[in-house]
Amino acid sequence: MAAIETRSLRKVYPAPPAPKRRGGGAPSPGASAASTPAGAGASRGEIVALQSLDLEVRDGEFFGLLGPNGAGKTTTIGILTTRVKPTSGSAVVGGADVATQSVQVRQRIGVVPQRPNPDRSLNVIENLLFHAAYFGIHASTSQPRANRLLEQLGIADKAYAKVDEMSGGQQQRLMIARALIHEPQVIFLDEPTVGLDPQTRLSLWEILRQLHAEGRTIVMTTHYMEEADKLCDRIAIVDRGQLLELDTPEALKQRAPGGTLVEMSLSGDARPVIDAVRAVDGVLRVEAQGPLLRVFSDRGGRVISPVIQAVEENGVSVANISLTEPSLETLFVSRTGRKLD
């Protein structure tokens, strides 16, 4: 049985009122949907955050939702955690329907938010004990569990500290402990490593691997390719509210267009130089988008100098060059026409 199943899940936010209102409600569509064009069936000004999402997450799976800001990741998590109402379609989490059985869904999930939002009026251990109490768990059960979690996450020495005395990484660990205190079936993490320094990120990865090894179902959103690649069993690539690809990281990488991606920004329109560049030895594929030229090469960076030559012969100069090895990133670029960040 699947831990999560969504069918034709769709979310349309109403058009924002004319004078811009700030500080909206729950997981806000915010920047995430602003760049999304109105999809099929949406009237003017409405924001289509999710077009029609069909997903299945298996029991015990580490599932990644990968996409740029505005892809609909946070909206998806919002719906699956009962904080956002879908416009249409259905979603079942842990056997309960998010729309009609939200209380049962909440009982089966743990959520780690994008930005740590601990209860700052309580200390660290109180945060865990009260959260357990909100799930009907008596202190005699939650106290040893909380101690064990703090130990496991390396913040046992902070048990009686004020939350504000913790670093960002420590607060994020507290959020993980809080998400686990009621022993949920499914754990959701929304961009858990954004804003953390590289070392803290690595130790968080270690914690997530451990949780996965314990057999938990984990759903994580991220816009870091590397993170999705290293941690997830399967990855769904989403963009503009649509599912583009869904497979294991290995299979996705094999599907990436061959070769290294050489991206050049030119001084002028890139379209006229396509034919000349395509003729260069080692060039597999060429794409142009405004002044941006994308060259897929099977000789790595060695095509750079003949390509520059071909470009300049057409009276255009090269302002900037970047190289990307074949990866989820090159797959993403070839499927969406843009980079992740």
């Binding site: 409600g25 939002n117 601990p118 009907g136």
Partner: protein
């Protein structure tokens, strides 16, 4: 870990409600001094000026204190009930998002709002209970003051604090954080001054237009209800009318507050 595994026991809503309430009590206890200063400073200053200084100067008669004390208690109750709910709501939904952990509790979202309103009611009652002995001390013996109508008093206190705590829920979830200052000057201040707290409603017989205009102000019913219960010999609005009005007002703000909270909680 399996989704097919035995489902967890359903959680009893009452035990979650109590846990939420315990959390608010714990937090309120930590901040009790700030809370009392914030919510009772204004009524206590009024007590000193209008209940002590002016009578001493013979600008107002001794009878004025009898009219003032129930009004002061009404203000303490209402003002602290509003603030205890509105301010945390503005913060929680506006920027800290701290309430998210409670919104994930496995109970209907409206129960979480209801708990907040009940917590606000308790804080209103505590503020009024704190002000009463101090006011009595500052003003000296108050003629006609009695605790003999306990039933009426409890009814007024419960309905009044519920009306204003619910109003706080509505304001706190409907108003943008930047406008919180405006809320005090545009809504709260007129409510206090035209709420028959510092003068009895029957005194407005002298200004008939005002006498009927102020009836839209829910504070009037709390103040007059307090008079009816605590100083029954003073002229006051009949208690049955006060009771009906407070039931209507409390139900109205409760509905608005619940709806507004739900809208903010679920996108």
């Amino acid at each position: 870990m399996s989704a097919t595994a035995a489902l967890p026991h359903p959680v009893r809503a009452s035990s979650v409600f109590l846990a939420l309430l315990r959390r608010d009590v714990r937090v309120a206890r930590k901040e009790i001094v700030f809370f009392l200063v914030r919510t009772t400073m204004q009524p206590l200053l009024f007590v000193i000026v209008f209940g002590y200084l002016l009578p001493k100067m013979n600008f107002v008669g001794r009878g004025y204190q009898t009219a003032l004390l129930p009004g002061i208690l009404a203000v303490s109750l209402s003002l602290s009930a509003i603030q205890s709910v509105a301010l945390p709501m503005v913060q929680d939904f506006g920027w800290t998002k701290e309430i998210e952990d409670r919104l994930l509790a496995p109970v209907p979202t409206r129960l979480i709002a209801a708990e907040k309103i009940v917590a606000g009611m308790l804080q209103g009652v505590i503020a009024a209970a704190f002000v009463l002995p101090i006011a009595r001390l500052v003003m000296g013996p108050i003629s006609g003051f009695t605790f003999s109508h306990v039933g009426e008093l409890i009814a007024i206190v419960v309905l009044g604090s519920m009306a204003f705590s619910s109003l706080g829920m509505w304001l706190g979830t409907a108003i943008a954080p930047q406008q919180i200052g405006l809320m005090f000057s545009v809504i709260i201040a007129p409510m206090l001054f035209f709420g028959c707290a510092y003068y009895p409603w029957r005194g407005l017989d002298a200004v008939p237009v005002m006498k009927y205009l102020v009836l839209v102000n829910p504070m009037v019913y709390v103040a007059e209800g307090m008079r009816g219960a605590l100083t029954p010999d003073m002229p006051h609005m009949p208690l049955p009318i006060v009771g009906v009005a407070l039931v209507v007002v409390a139900a109205f703000f409760w509905t608005l507050g619940m709806r507004s909270f739900y809208k903010r909680a679920i996108g």
